[in-house]
Symmetry: C2
Subunit: 272 residues, 2 copies
């Protein structure tokens, strides 16, 4: 168990479930292979989503992997399900639709328990919709395209494990730079994290993140932004943003969310 | 100066500036009439907005009322303006467009200083756009109408003095119950506060609010919400929300944001 807050682990969706299983294996080992993992399948409308992850995590050797059947707001108040969270070293939120997570879990005892368990040291991962839901400001839905345009993204309150980042997933596969930039253009205080599929950010208790997986992680840092035209643009107009800093990071690269310093993976650093 | 955090005071817009001046007088007396008030006119595109409030607050007898000319992100980094905030007992954000506030001040040293001053005990009030900007989740813009419909409201990150409430203003005058309900329907964890014009919520350090002014304050409490259909509705469809609690409060009424208990003004309580 980590000292202090646990890891927060957004995954860009479509992570390997056979073969190397790099991301889920790393998550399971972080939770201790003797540990327990609770799965929250609420985002998914497919009935066997939770069971599939139970099988994958059991295959990775964890002591217990259990899917919690939360499909209504009443389910998210059940003390017996919260008791399972209390005994879990890791919690994994599946993909699907992030609005299913926010409308069924938002404001319930389960949401409070998730925040409490994160603060107590449990590691909380989410893939795709599960990744979008982890933070205070959640991209609920939006349109595709590389350039930021007014009104192409809808933000909603998320679970709130951190407000330092805004996450978008399936990033390269669905051409989402534009909607992440639009989300940041409203109020340039958060750091944008765009996650390709099969790519995760392991955000440690010290707010330093490490990239794990086969794709890229795009960091958008607005700390030196000089100008955003979001206050004056009209629907579908492009948004003017001056002074963005962007890093494209691969497996093993790191980024510190406090100091905003990026570093390549050690092996590549040695080659340079 | 209050013990702990200062008051957070969203005002619904169009507050009296002559005559009784109930809300601004109450704000000035909270800041101590021997105190200093800083005015942030950034939301407004009208050049004399700051000067008008300087005159009103000086007329109420405060020692100093000074408008800070913040109209670019570079202005929001100026140490001399932050030094004025540090000496202020109260800070007042004018109306205009809340996206001007979030795009010019979000992520800057000024935003950090405002959060720090609030935590140190300074009282921070905002009217109209200034009210919308105060909280973590800000209604950026939206459409009118009494019923909640998908996509009629756009949320963006705000200043972040609290995440317990989502604020809407000019509430009755612009028929905004629908967009406030839509904002809450995404994730029913926050408490909705709809402020009529010339009506304010004085939210104390103990998270109890008192209504001040001539209109109504509408509280929407989602703590017992049984169902939100937001995850499955399409654009302009009505949103199904089951189990909302609503209170309409007038001058002197109170609502505790922690216990979620409302109480009428003492005079009315005696009559009952």
């Amino acid at each position: 168990m980590a000292d202090g807050r646990g890891y927060i682990i957004p995954v860009g969706g479509a992570e390997e479930k056979i073969g190397d299983i790099t991301i889920l294996r790393r998550f399971a080992s972080l939770c201790d292979t003797a540990g327990r993992i609770a799965i929250i399948p609420t985002a998914s409308e497919v009935s066997d989503t939770g069971a599939r992850y139970e099988t994958v995590f059991q295959g990775l050797g964890v002591t217990e992997a259990r899917s919690l059947p939360i499909y209504t707001r009443a389910d998210a108040e059940l003390p017996e399900l919260i008791a399972i969270l209390d005994q879990s070293d890791g919690i994994f939120l599946t993909g699907g639709n992030q609005l299913r997570l926010s409308t069924m879990i938002g404001g319930t005892s389960m949401a409070k328990a998730l925040r409490r368990r994160s603060a107590e040291g449990a590691h909380i991962a989410g893939t795709s919709a599960g990744a979008a839901f982890l933070c205070e400001h959640m991209i609920a839905f939006g349109r595709e395209g590389a350039s930021p345009r007014a009104k192409i993204v809808t933000l909603a309150p998320g679970l709130g494990l951190t407000n330092r980042v805004i996450i978008d997933q399936h990033f390269r596969q669905r051409d989402r730079l534009g909607r992440l930039l639009t989300a940041l253009a409203y109020n340039p205080f958060a750091i944008g994290i765009g996650l390709d599929e099969n790519t995760a950010a392991f955000i440690g208790p010290d707010n330093s993140l490490e990239v794990v997986g086969g794709g890229a992680l795009t960091i958008v840092d607005t700390s030196e932004l000089e100008f955003s035209s979001m206050a004056r643009v009209r629907k579908n107009d492009p948004v003017c943003l001056i002074g963005l800093k962007v890093h494209i990071l691969d497996h093993g690269s790191t980024f510190n969310l406090t100091t905003r310093v990026a570093a390549p993976a050690p092996a590549i650093a040695r080659r340079a």
